[in-house]
């Protein structure tokens, strides 16, 4: 039994970042987390997936090594080794958060928490003991989200043949064939990984294109690249008649009125995640949910129960680590009564780390059309960028959508190697309301991939130099 100024229920990116910030602001902080620190991001998401993608990136690059004058012998792909490395990276990151907790005097309460009366939390530890901790100022729910199956398509997760990203991250070997159901960021990333490790991959998406939240040009560019590498891309696809056997899954896929049967070793379901709102005493504490099953929060991230806040995936989309981290910082500042800037939810970057990478902010061209905005598009392909040619990574483009009259950056979409690093220039520009002119005025170093941003900006003004 201990008292803290603030208790965070959940030690993921939202909770651990918020806890550190709260401690920096002079509050005493406890974090209840039953698994390792870092949450889905560090243990089962961003970090291990990116470690695996680095393996697939090396594998893909090596296929072209000879063109660069580097001859390598036969390439042997061992998914198990890549998997173990990714687990090591994940563990190191989690230990890193533990270190940060010690440094910032944040207490990790290991166990499963359930909200009790008056901002208290009953915690059951691994050995079955229970203890109660009380927050004097505020309680922050940041229990995150979890993988889920797609029962409406007969795809209940059985963890052997019908799996989620959780199981995919710890497979000892790459399956011979894999169907990835859902072509969002997670689906596309695993399609890329297993394709590089020799798996016959089929991507199945119900929407008319892969990466349906991205700009149509981005979706098309990635689909083209996937097909070139032998990934089957089935969009506008309906699933039926799923039969899960012991070693394989058979299902009927209907695309454009044409039905065909598909049998694969495994199905990876990547069709969204479910918020962790069950069995933590939300209802009893007076915390209400939205129609979509997230915790309902105010503009100051407070739930319908006074003194109880919610942040991260559990508080609603976008379910992104960086959105959760920012909410953690802001909720700590709100609780501490410190000055804070309201979160600009309109300028959160979306990043997918498959090859080629996809990064975007703001509106897609389709959204601009829908809103009947007067816009202009500037686009520059990496095939015309010197630095991209030197590295032989010429797939993709930079696309800038600007307001036709004032040059406001309405949206920016980058597909290509290192796109997820490059987007931040435009993110800063947009956050500060720089127009395309200010981006152009900044002299971009030569030769860099970022010159493609400068050129796309120039194109939007009708002044492109290099294409």
């Amino acid at each position: 039994m201990a008292n803290f100024d603030v208790i965070f229920l959940g030690g993921g990116p939202a909770g651990y970042v918020g806890a550190i910030r709260a401690s920096q602001l002079g509050l005493t902080v406890g974090v209840i987390e039953r698994e390792g620190l870092g949450g889905t991001c560090v243990l089962w998401g961003c970090i291990p997936a990116k470690a695996l993608l680095e393996s697939s990136h090396i594998a893909n690059r090596l296929k072209h090594a000879a063109e660069f004058g580097v001859k390598v012998g036969d390439i042997t792909l061992e998914y198990g080794v890549a998997m173990k490395r990714s687990r090591d990276v994940s563990t190191k990151n989690s230990k890193g958060v533990e270190f940060l907790f010690k440094k910032n005097k944040v207490t990790w309460i290991k166990g499963t928490g359930v909200l009790g009366a008056g901002k208290s939390v009953k915690v059951t530890t691994a050995d079955g003991k229970t203890e109660t901790h009380t927050a004097t100022k505020a309680l922050v729910v940041c229990t995150g989200s979890r993988v889920r199956g797609l029962p409406q398509a007969g795809l209940e997760l059985n963890k052997t043949t019908i799996i989620s990203s959780d199981e995919a991250l710890v497979l000892e070997t790459a399956p011979a064939s894999l169907a990835v159901v859902g072509a969002g960021a997670v689906g596309c990333e695993f399609a890329d990984v297993f394709n590089a490790f020799g798996t016959k991959v089929t991507v199945i998406e119900v929407m008319p294109r892969i990466l349906p939240l991205e700009d149509e040009d981005s979706s098309a560019e990635v689909a083209r690249s996937f097909k070139k590498r032998g990934i089957d891309v089935l969009v506008g696809a309906k699933l039926s008649g799923t039969k899960a056997g012991k070693d394989s899954v058979t299902m009927t896929v209907e695309v454009g009125g044409e039905k065909k049967e598909l049998t694969v070793d495994k199905v990876l379901v990547a069709a969204g995640r479910a918020a962790n709102v069950e069995n933590i005493g939300l209802k009893e504490a007076g915390v209400q949910l939205t129609d979509r099953g997230f915790i309902k929060v105010s503009a100051t991230l407070e739930t319908t129960a006074k003194g109880i806040f919610a942040i991260g995936d559990v508080a609603g989309p976008p379910m992104l680590a960086h959105k959760g981290e920012r909410e953690g910082i802001v909720v700590a500042e709100i609780i501490a009564g410190a000055h804070y800037h309201p979160i600009n939810y309109g300028n959160i970057p979306n990043c997918t780390y498959c090859s080629p990478e996809i990064a975007s902010i703001g509106l897609t061209e389709a959204q601009c059309k829908e809103k009947k905005l007067d816009y202009k598009v500037g686009k520059f392909p990496f095939s015309a960028n010197g630095r991209a040619r030197t590295s032989g990574e010429t797939e993709g483009f930079v696309k800038i959508i600007k307001d036709a009259k004032y040059g406001e950056i309405l949206g920016a979409h980058i597909v290509g190697a290192h796109a997820t690093e490059m987007i931040h220039e435009l993110l800063v520009a947009r956050e500060n309301e720089y127009t395309v002119e200010e981006v152009d005025l900044a002299i971009h170093a030569h030769p860099t991939l970022s010159e493609a941003i400068a050129e796309a900006v120039l194109d939007s003004m009708g002044k492109m130099i290099h294409a």
Binding site: G407, N432, Y434
Partner: protein, 413 residues
Amino acid sequence: MATKIFMEALSPTMEEGRLVKWNKREGDAVKSGDVLAEVETDKAVMELVARGDGVLRKQLVAEGATAPVGTLVGVIAAAGEDIAALVAGAAGPAAVAPAAAAPAAPAAVAAAPAAASAPIAAAISTGAPAKSSPLARRLAKDSGLDLGGIAGSGPGGRIIKRDIEAAVAGGGATVVATASRLPSSGSDYEDQPLTQIRKTIAKRLGESIGPIPTFYLTAEFDLTRAAELRAAAAELGDDFKVSFNDIVLKATATALARHPEINAHWLGDKIRFHNRVHLGMAVATDDGLIVPVIFDADTKGLRELSVESKALAKRARERKLKPEEYTGSTFSVSNLGMMQIDQFTAIINPPECAILAIGALEEKPVVVDGAVVVRKRMRVTMSCDHRVIDGAIGARFLQDLRRMIENPLMLVF
């Protein structure tokens, strides 16, 4: 290419200015650097100069009218150039009252967003152009809005897109100068609009007596030896004539150099102890009080101080001081002795932490070595900000000051 003429921040603390006189008429040719108008700021009458060549096409603020810093007051353009859009975006021609109607009431800023007065004040009080995003500037330009009248809601009070959109939705931020004057006779009373200097005095002194926990230390100094020094010096010739006030300034500056705990600024979250002594000296002018500064007063000789203080006082009364000549003091002295005030308490000029009030010099009987004798005596009262200066610390400073004034030979060392 037209050039907009704005009410510029002509002093560091200026928030608005009264256009005293237009030196150029509409239609006059002007060159960059020409004096367009005289503007009364919070401290002095300053010159507003042209930033471009052409013809003064439009005066948007009447003589005598007051406008906040950043207000469009006129337009310079080529003879035939169309300036309708520029003019339409600012105060309309109706705002230009006849010159005879001066002085006008303070201009009111009619900002669009309600409850936005605080950010407006914040944006203007910096004296610098309002901070704004590039996109906001483009939108404002297109809508003919003047950023100076718009409240910023971005980081650090920055004007961003949504502020412009709100201003446009609210009909634009326009500056309206209303001229009003009551007849000077036939009325029970006469209202006189506040001058800039009176407004500043009210604001600054109100700030002082309110939040500053002030206490007062009074001491009576013997000026016998100071009088001897004056007499001896005067015998050397006119070049060596000094006043009692000069001796007090010199002694105060010298004592301050030894007492940085008095020579300090209260800055809200910290106290700044100054190593240099910049001595403010309160000067009464027809319009009110102003405090020119003798910089590095502790390093200056008695004669030098005497010349400089007289020059500053003269220029202050003529209202010719430049802003940098009345800002930056670390401690101030106020002397009402020449007006036969025996003793008084002066109000601290923040962020300074103390001020010395000098009373009249008078001959009075005092007891010296058991006998009643007539001596020249002078009362001084130091107002101290207790957040910085404790009683004993203030008293120790006055002890040192007493030693110096009563033994002016110390000032030589």
